[in-house]
C-alpha cells in the first residue's frame, strides 16, 4: 500500500477469475472502499496471475477456485512458493456454493479468508479484502519484529562471549608477569642469592604479600566476570555443610592463632547431607571467614555456626560471627553489591574491592539460598546464609551439569 497525493492510501488488488462478468463484479465491489484509492489488475488464468504477482507484488489477490489452467488451490501453492513456506499470503479465495472443503484447504495454504460466490455481498467481499490486507500487514510486522529481536539477541550473545573471552585473556595476561615477579622475590626470600638482612627480609616479604594479594584480586575479577556473563556452573553433589565449614575453619586455624583471635566452629549434629556445589560453598565460607578474621582485632572471637533453620527446618544456615569493628547500618544493605566500599574517610573498616561478598551472594543465589549481614558498630558483625534442604536442591539436581544464567 502506498500513500497518494490526495492523502488516500492506494491498494493494488489482483483479481483472478476466468469469468469476465465476475471479475467486473468483484472490482465494482472493492472499488467502493471508502478512503482508499483502489487499483486493479485482472487476469483470467493462474499462469498470468503468478507472473503478475511476481512482477507487481499486489496488496491482495482475489482468486476464483475454477481457473482454466490450474485450480485456485494450486495457484495458492505457487504463491506460497513465492512468499516462503510460513509467510502469510494476502489472498481471498472465491469458491462455489457447497465447496467448503476447498475453502478449508485454501485457509490451510495460507489464504486469509474465503467467500462463497453468489452469497457474498459487495460489502462482504470488500471487508474480506480489507481484513486480509490488514492481517497480512500485521503478521509481516510481527515477523519483522521477531527477526529484529532474534538478531539483537544474537548480537548480545556474541558480545557476551566476546566480553567473557576478553576477561579470560585479561586474567591470564595479568597473572603472567605477577608470577615471575613473585617467584623472583621468593628466590631472594629463600636466600638462594645469599643471606638477607632483617630489613631486606621484611620488605621483600611485604612485596611478596602484595603479589599474593594481587593474585587474589585477579581471581576475584575472573569470578565476577564469570558471574556477569552467565558462565558460572553448578556441579551439585550431596555434601555435608558441617564438614565443609570444619575444613575451612581448620585451614584457617593457624592464621587466626597468629592474629591472636579465638576461632570456633559449632556444628549441629545429625544434619542431612544436601545437594550443593562444594567448591562454590567452600569459597563462600572461606570468603566470609577471611573477612571476619581481617576485621577482628587481637583477642577477639570468630564463631562459625552450622545449624538447621526455618519453621520446618527446611534449610541449613551457616553464620560467621565476629567481634570486629562492625559495619554501619547504612552500609549493610549495599555491602554485597559489586565494587561497593565503605567510606574511605580513613575509618579502619575497609572491605577492599568488595568483589568477595558479591561473589558470595551470587553463589548462594545459584543455590536458591539467601545471604545477609547483621551488625552493630564496635560490637561486631554476623554474616549468614541459608541453603534450602529439599525444594531448591531438587531444582539444582536438574541444573547440575548445565550453565545457570
Amino acid at each position: 500500500m502506498k500513500g497518494t497525493h490526495s492523502g488516500q492510501t492506494r491498494v493494488h488488488i489482483l483479481i483472478v477469475d476466468a469469468d469476465p462478468a465476475d471479475r467486473e463484479a468483484s472490482q465494482r465491489a472493492i472499488a467502493g472502499w471508502p478512503d482508499r484509492e483502489t487499483v486493479f489488475s485482472d487476469v483470467d488464468s493462474a499462469e498470468e496471475a503468478l507472473r503478475l504477482y511476481r512482477a507487481e507484488h499486489p496488496d491482495c489477490v482475489v482468486l476464483d477456485y475454477q481457473l482454466p489452467d490450474r485450480d485456485g488451490l494450486e495457484l495458492l501453492r505457487a504463491l506460497q512458493g513465492e512468499e516462503g513456506a510460513s509467510a502469510p499470503l494476502p489472498a481471498v479465495m472465491l469458491t462455489g456454493h457447497g465447496n467448503e472443503s476447498v475453502a478449508a484447504e485454501a485457509l490451510k495454504l495460507g489464504a486469509q479468508d474465503y467467500c462463497v460466490k453468489g452469497r457474498i455481498t459487495p460489502e462482504g467481499l470488500r471487508r474480506a479484502v480489507a481484513r486480509a490486507i490488514e492481517k497480512v500487514m500485521m503478521l509481516r510486522k510481527i515477523e519483522e519484529q521477531r527477526r529484529e529481536l532474534e538478531s539483537a539477541n544474537r548480537d548480545l550473545r556474541r558480545m557476551n562471549e566476546e566480553i567473557w573471552a576478553w576477561y579470560r585473556t585479561l586474567a591470564h595476561e595479568l597473572k603472567t608477569p605477577l608470577s615471575s615477579a613473585r617467584e623472583l622475590l621468593a628466590i631472594q626470600l629463600d636466600g638462594l642469592n645469599g643471606p638477607l638482612t632483617e630489613e631486606q627480609f621484611q620488605q621483600l616479604t611485604l612485596a611478596k604479600e602484595s603479589c599474593n594479594q594481587m593474585a587474589v584480586l585477579i581471581d576475584d575479577l575472573f569470578d565476577a566476570a564469570r558471574l556477569d556473563t552467565g558462565k558460572m556452573t553448578i556441579k551439585a553433589r550431596p555434601a555435608s555443610m558441617g564438614d565443609m565449614a570444619s575444613r575451612v575453619v581448620n585451614s584457617m586455624a593457624a592464621a587466626a592463632a597468629d592474629k591472636g583471635i579465638h576461632l570456633k566452629c559449632e556444628v549441629e549434629p545429625g544434619l542431612p547431607r544436601i545437594l550443593v556445589d562444594e567448591h562454590l560453598i567452600t569459597q563462600v565460607i572461606t570468603n566470609l571467614l577471611n573477612n571476619a578474621l581481617k576485621f577482628t582485632p587481637k583477642g577477639g572471637e570468630v564463631v562459625v555456626t552450622v545449624r538447621a533453620n526455618g519453621k520446618r527446618q527446611e534449610s541449613i544456615l551457616v553464620s560467621v560471627s565476629d567481634t570486629g569493628c562492625g559495619i554501619e547500618k547504612d552500609h549493610l544493605d549495599r555491602i554485597f553489591d559489586r565494587l561497593y566500599q565503605t567510606s574511605s574517610d580513613g575509618s579502619l573498616c575497609n572491605i577492599g574491592l568488595g568483589l568477595g561478598l558479591a561473589i558470595c551472594r551470587e553463589s548462594v543465589k545459584l543455590h536458591n539460598g539467601e545471604i545477609w549481614a547483621e551488625s552493630e558498630p564496635v560490637k561486631g558483625s554476623t554474616f549468614s546464609f541459608t541453603i534450602p534442604m529439599s525444594r531448591g536442591t531438587e531444582q539444582l539436581a536438574g541444573d547440575a551439569p548445565g550453565e545457570s544464567r
Partner: protein, 146 residues
C-alpha cells in the same frame, strides 16, 4: 652444588615457558635444587630442545606462541625417545577443565596454576623423578598415567 646421589648423573629439566622472566626464575630455583636446566621460550624451540637433549622432565607452559603446550606434549608422545619423559604443566589460565585435561588426557605427572609455591613444584619433581627410576606408582589417582 648438589650433584644428586653418588654415582648418579645430574638430572636435566627442560623449561618450556614463553614468559622469559618466569623461566629465568624457575631455572634459578631448579639449579639450586641440583638440577641441570635448559629453557625454551616457545613451543617449537621447546620441541627441538626436548628431542635434542632428552631431558628427565619437562616443565611445560600451556599458552605459548608457535603451537602451545598441548602440541608440545603431543609431539613428545609421538616420538619413541621422548614419549616417556614426565611432564608438569604450568599455566596462568583459570579455564575450567585444564587440570583434568593435563592429567587425564595428556598423562602429565603434575599441574600447577600460576602463581605457585616453588616448594610445591620441587616436591612434584622429586616425586616424578623418583618414580621414574624405581617401580612407578601413579602420582595422581584418576590420572590415566602411561
Amino acid at each position: 652444588m648438589l650433584q644428586g646421589n653418588q654415582g648418579e648423573r645430574v638430572r636435566t629439566i627442560l623449561i618450556i615457558e614463553d614468559d622469559e622472566k618466569l623461566a629465568i626464575a624457575l631455572a634459578v630455583r631448579l639449579k639450586a635444587s641440583g638440577y641441570q636446566v635448559f629453557a625454551a621460550y616457545d613451543a617449537l624451540a621447546g620441541v627441538c630442545q626436548a628431542v635434542r637433549r632428552e631431558p628427565d622432565l619437562i616443565l611445560l607452559d600451556i599458552a605459548m606462541p608457535l603451537g602451545g603446550g598441548w602440541s608440545v606434549a603431543e609431539r613428545m608422545k609421538s616420538k619413541a625417545n621422548t614419549a616417556a619423559i614426565p611432564i608438569i604443566f604450568i599455566t596462568a589460565s583459570k579455564e575450567p577443565g585444564l587440570r583434568e585435561k593435563a592429567l587425564e588426557k595428556y598423562g602429565a605427572v603434575g599441574f600447577l596454576e600460576k602463581p605457585f609455591e616453588a616448594s610445591d613444584l620441587i616436591s612434584m619433581i622429586h616425586k616424578a623423578l623418583d618414580d621414574s627410576t624405581g617401580v612407578s606408582s601413579p602420582l595422581f589417582m584418576g590420572s590415566s598415567g602411561r
